[in-house]
């Protein structure tokens, strides 16, 4: 049995890998969930077809990162998977149901007419909205900490119903909407783009407000996080993160007014990245906050080693053909090229 445990700190590598997978999921499915969130507000049916086309070739691949996040957690930190999934039982179920509705809507709505087409439009919208909100709720519940006894979740079925988690749920809805709106700006033109640009402006303000709220309330719910961020000299080391995020907001706001087409999307990604890094720093080294660290929850080194060997070889390939797929469907979502 080969194992890299003597030469590598496997749990840290896996923590980084899963963190990357989850972040890629948040970005990639973030923009297509965001498109779903904005869907009913589009100016016309034609516009709706067009924005749907702009994500149709990608959504399946995007959601696969969610499976990798879940599967990776199961493989590399089975204890965390076993504790966290029951802890998020209902939000995860609701998220899955939302993903079902929005996933099938891609195929179904193009085959439906009249009222049933409208119904699938709403299935797509409400499914995306539910999935996004529940992911935010899961995040908020996670940050607040999980009740554990032994190796099992010991809390209640409704632990996730808390003001903080509901707020993070709403925050993520707006965050995804920002990714979606800037994606639409990049992938369309004409009235659709104009509409998305208008929406992106207001959403941008909401996201900034939610970010401020979450950033300020997170240290309040946990003392360790407060000390981490607000003690010297940490405060100075960590201050670039919020400052960079703030700068990106300003630039995004300007870009929207100057009608830039591509950069707003990448700035939105940057804002997400700053938040994500901030979160990672706050919760380090917990994988089940505040009960199991990533070393305590790690799978056997043989298991982590085997999958790592495979991942080092396979992940570049995955990234390669994902990039190829995005390259194939580059440019504006054109009417003829798709459906």
């Amino acid at each position: 049995m080969f194992s890299f445990e003597n030469i590598l700190d496997l749990p840290i590598i896996w923590y980084a890998l899963i963190g990357t997978a989850v972040f890629l999921y948040v970005l990639l499915d973030g923009f297509d969930l965001g498109v779903g969130i904005l869907f009913p507000f589009a100016p016309s049916d034609q516009s709706r077809d067009r924005i749907m086309n702009s994500i149709a070739p990608f959504w399946d691949g995007n959601e696969t990162w969610l499976v990798l996040g879940g599967g990776g957690l199961f493989a590399a930190f089975p204890l965390a998977y076993a504790v966290l999934m029951p802890a998020f039982y209902l939000p995860i179920i609701f998220m899955l149901l939302g993903l079902i509705f929005r996933g099938v809507a891609f195929e179904f709505r193009f085959k439906a007419f009249g009222w049933s087409r409208k119904a699938w439009n709403y299935a797509f919208h409400l499914g995306s909205l539910t999935a996004a909100f529940m992911q935010g709720v899961v995040l908020g519940t996670f940050v607040q900490g999980i009740a554990v006894e032994g190796r099992r979740f010991a809390g209640g079925a409704l632990d996730w119903v808390s003001p903080f988690a509901l707020m993070t749920g709403a925050a993520l809805v707006f965050g995804y909407a920002l990714l979606g709106a800037t994606w639409i700006i990049m992938k369309t033109d004409g009235e659709t783009q104009e509409w998305a640009r208008n929406y992106a402006g207001s959403i941008c303000v909401c996201v900034a407000l939610f970010m401020a709220l979450v950033t300020l309330s997170t240290p309040l719910i946990n003392n360790d996080i407060k000390t981490l961020w607000f003690s010297l000299p940490n405060f100075f080391y960590l201050s670039p993160l919020p400052l960079l995020a703030f700068g990106m907001f300003l630039l995004l706001w300007k870009d929207l007014r100057r009608k830039k087409e591509c950069r707003p999307f990448f700035l939105s990604i940057g804002i997400f990245l700053m938040n994500y890094l901030g979160l990672g720093i706050s919760l380090w080294p917990w994988i089940v906050p505040f009960r199991f660290t990533l070393w305590e929850a790690a799978a056997a080194p043989q298991s982590q080693s085997l999958l790592l060997a495979g991942t080092l070889f396979l992940l570049p390939m995955v990234l390669g053909y994902t990039a190829y797929s995005f390259y194939t469907f580059r440019g504006k979502a054109s009417p003829e090229g798709y459906y």
Binding site: G71, A82, Y89, E107, Y339
Partner: protein
């Protein structure tokens, strides 16, 4: 067993969601490979009928694939939500196998599916064909890993169990290629191919019967019959090998399949009957003397173990297994009969215009799905009361979640799946009703929908 027992509810939920899910991969695996063959024929011959067949079925494939993806994501999270004790203890072993499935298959399928469906005008013909082949191979790789994981739960090896109850791997080759895996893989892939063949054949038969789309229908019907002629008998052979493997490693499952309670030499084959778990006997049995011994041991007087060999708490529920097995085998025999009839009709040059045979094939359209479902019932129920055979019990595997949330989510899945499955079936039937486009008017749309609203911005 109480109705609101959390273990029972969790099992019911898993049985429901996985039964629903397996229908899609069973069809996806077969149809992806078949589409690759059709596209290859098209590129090779330039005959537009292959293109029209491809374009019709790729739409059905897309609907089916979408439903497969969303119902599959549910499963990857259910291990944790409903079976967390199982996940905690087997994660070291099953985690990497599922991780490899995602990395080697899911991404591959998802990325190239986009090109397969939407890429007609974005990539060249050969690149498109390449995408189809890659998707087909991806479905097979996916089947490889998931069946390896399932088979390990049936015939576990290559591990040690720690004092903490957690499984630790000792030999990956022995884990991945565990004793029942090769048989289960071959049996399942052949089942997927047959399922698809009978769907495609049934649809072809319908068109021939109605005298519509005759050119395309002959391609569908003809290719399906080739599969029935060759793969259906092969499947009987694969199934027999799989059964003998089960006899070696999970004899209690075979005893339940046979409805046999007493260990005996020269055991009879019970054709029909009702295995009664409490009375420990098979009621109203219709028997053929010594046949069971002959099939299982290849000797008229070979010894076959009965369920009473095992303490009653270790026995699987025999009636389910007994009847599921008979339905599966019955369908397999009907498929073989179809192949034989096809050969006879072909030799008489009546294959494409025999009305009763078209009707017969239409009736068998959903048969493969039923066989797949009942086959999985045999193997999964036959593993009970264990989740990892002889090592970990199903009852010890559930999450610390109350019956309330489990019942709620079960109800929600039931409702949602009914709506989605109903709608999906309806749209697939509509696509079948419409049939292939004639090549000349297939000019619109890529994955070719009837009403590609021209998307034009007004500005």
């Amino acid at each position: 067993m109480h109705l609101f027992d959390p273990v029972f509810l969790a099992r019911l939920q898993f049985a429901f969601t996985i039964s629903f899910h397996i229908l899609f991969p069973a069809f996806t695996i077969g149809i992806a490979s078949w589409l690759a063959v059709v596209e290859w024929r098209w590129l090779k011959t330039g005959n537009p009928v292959f293109e029209s067949v491809y374009r019709m079925w790729v739409k059905i494939f897309a609907v089916n694939f979408g439903m497969g993806v969303v119902s599959g994501i549910v499963l990857s999270y259910q291990f944790g939500t409903n079976w967390s004790a199982f996940s905690d203890r087997t994660g070291n072993i099953l985690g990497p196998l599922l991780g490899f499935e995602v990395l080697t298959a899911f991404f591959l399928e998802a990325s190239f599916l986009g090109i397969m469906l939407f890429g007609w005008k974005r990539v060249g013909k050969m690149a498109h064909f390449g995408a189809t082949v890659i998707v087909a191979v991806g479905t097979l790789i996916s089947a490889f890993w998931i069946l390896s994981a399932n088979s390990w739960m049936q015939t576990p090896q290559g591990f040690i169990k720690g004092a903490d109850g957690i499984f630790y791997p000792t030999n990956w080759i022995r884990i991945i290629f565990n004793p029942s895996f090769p048989y289960r893989f071959v049996h399942m892939v052949a089942a997927a191919y047959l399922t698809t063949a009978f769907v495609v054949g049934g649809v072809g038969a319908y068109y021939l019967w109605r005298r519509r789309h005759v050119g395309s229908a002959r391609v569908m019907f003809g290719m399906a019959m080739i599969m029935a002629v060759f793969v259906a008998p092969l499947q009987l052979f694969f199934g027999d090998l799989h059964g003998l493997n089960t006899l070696e490693h999970q004899p209690a499952k075979v005893s339940a399949m046979e409805g046999l309670w007493e260990t005996q030499r020269g055991a009879p084959l019970k054709l029909f009957g009702w295995p009664d778990q409490k009375k420990e006997t098979t009621l109203y049995a219709l028997e053929v003397p010594k046949l069971s011994s002959l099939i299982l041991t290849h000797d008229f007087n070979g010894e076959v173990k009965g369920l009473k060999e095992w303490p009653s708490e270790d026995r699987p529920p025999a009636a389910w297994i007994f009847w599921s097995f008979r339905i599966m085998v019955g369908i397999g025999l009907l498929m073989i009969a179809t192949g034989i009839a096809a050969v006879i009709l072909f030799l008489r040059k009546r294959l494409f215009d025999t009305r009763w045979f078209q009707f017969w094939c239409m009736a068998l359209t959903p048969s493969g799905f039923l066989a797949v479902l009942t086959g999985w019932c045999v193997t999964e129920i036959g593993r009970q009361p264990f989740i990892v055979y002889n090592v970990m019990r199903t009852a010890d595997s559930v999450s610390p979640v109350g019956s309330g949330p489990v019942a709620l989510s079960l109800g929600a899945f039931f409702l949602v799946y009914t709506v989605i499955f109903g709608a999906g079936t309806y749209y697939i039937l509509k696509l079948i009703g419409k049939g292939p486009d004639m090549p000349e008017d297939a000019s619109f749309g890529t994955h070719g929908l009837e009403k590609p609203l021209l998307v034009v911005d007004r500005s």
